[in-house]
Chain length 237, copies 2
DNA sequence: ATTATTTGTCATCAAAATGTAACATTGCAT
DNA sequence: ATGCAATGTTACATTTTGATGACAAATAAT
């Protein structure tokens, strides 16, 4: 992901959105906002925020519904949610726990507390899945240290190439169209020239080729499938 | 699995239906329209569109109701829905997030955005149903990796030969006329010289022959049926 | 501010795929 | 066997598709 986590603030009161926005900014997060559940959902589909701050009391009572929906959908289930709630009453919390929300902050809260909780939740959630290194022959990707190694030497590449390689290594032995790759690596609903994918594939290949001293060409793992897209595969073309 | 996805536009305003229709047309989609939820429902059962663009604010029954019904019915639940919503104050009626809609587009929208979202949603929904590999003796076709293997070695062939083989392997033991093969492999409404099929059959056979090291000739699976066409069969000619 | 890095797009070149026609071969009816 | 229609094969011009270097805008680093 990006260096600074991207946080979505969902609240119908502009004042609260602004307040939180500033607090997050100061703490080094990026943030976007939405005032309705609908806006929020669109934003989530498009941007895949790293965390969602969700007001419990959205008009129509839709905050909790949104949370439930997000947790049920496979694509969004892993995005942590912190509920903002005015009430301290227990039944709310019980309901929310049901849904699978990650934490609560009760209004009024201090920015300091909010940030602390955000960090805690992020730490928990990012520590989970990402951390296992993937290795193919002597090509190793370690998400924890955000590093790619060939024959135990670091490989230099840009962030986009890193994400690209990461996508491929986590989805081996399958073709992906350029469109698909754009979705996965750049995000859905980002429009780029189709050939842009080619260029980045090229850069990734170059980086991998340059890295090997043993003559094994790791760029061969990234195979062109004419008329279909690209494939990461250990088997021969 | 038609070449162009068929999209149903449901909106009560004719102007909007037309506008969207044109946009989709330009983008290479086919589209049909409905102005009421009832019309839409009939159309959906009839035509099985690949995706539904559904106006949130349909007169009377409202689009949300329809969406909910479709998502509850097992037969239609898998058809992706994109909701068209007015920008403003639908806040109170937002009860329907739960419904399971796949994306939203807020009016007014650009055709470009609409098309981008449609493509993204289609990609997501069709990508899920992974086809299973088909195997005949030591000839294996794996649609996921877009690969043909003979005795565990990759077979090289052009995209057209791949589609051709795919068609045969999914429709074995039946004769198909050259016309029929053209329809299936090149798509309807493409006119080619009839002999073109022969040439590609030839290329496919050559690719299969060249692939085997054990002397088994897999090109024999593609049998000529004089006066009728071709057949893919494991039984002898 | 200046410099370096990264990014997306474009133009260009090279390679692969495609459709067609011409020619060769096969198999069947007589 | 003979002739003919159907099919196989080959060569080739054209079209598609992918790779790559160059460049300018955007972004991050100093």
């Amino acid at each position: 992901m990006t260096p600074e986590p991207n946080i979505l603030i969902v609240d119908d009161e502009a004042a609260i959105r602004d307040m939180i926005g500033i607090a997050l900014d100061t703490a080094g997060f990026r943030s976007t906002t939405a005032s309705t559940a609908l806006d929020a959902h669109v934003n989530i589909i498009d941007q895949r925020p790293d965390l969602i701050l969700l007001d419990w009391m959205l008009p129509g009572g839709s905050g909790i519904e949104l949370a439930r929906r997000l947790k049920r959908d496979e694509l969004t289930a892993s995005i942590p949610i912190i509920m903002l709630t005015a009430k301290t009453s227990e039944d709310n919390k019980v309901q929310g726990l049901d849904v699978g929300v990650d934490d609560y902050v009760t209004k009024p809260f201090s920015p300091r507390e909010l940030v602390a909780r955000i960090k805690a939740v992020l730490r928990r959630s990012t520590g989970n899945l990402k951390d296992k290194p993937i290795r193919v022959f002597d090509l190793e990707m370690d998400p924890a240290s955000h590093r790619v190694m060939v024959e135990d030497r670091a490989v230099e590449m840009g962030p986009t190439e890193y994400r690209l390689l990461n996508f491929f290594m986590t989805h081996p032995e399958k073709v992906y169209s350029r469109d698909h790759i754009q979705d996965q690596v750049w995000g859905a609903n980002v429009y780029l020239e189709e050939r842009t994918v080619d260029v980045h594939i090229g850069r990734l290949r170059k980086a991998l080729s340059a890295a090997s001293k043993t003559g094994i060409n790791y760029s061969a793992l990234i195979q062109t499938v004419r008329g279909a897209g690209y494939r990461f595969s250990t088997r021969h073309n």
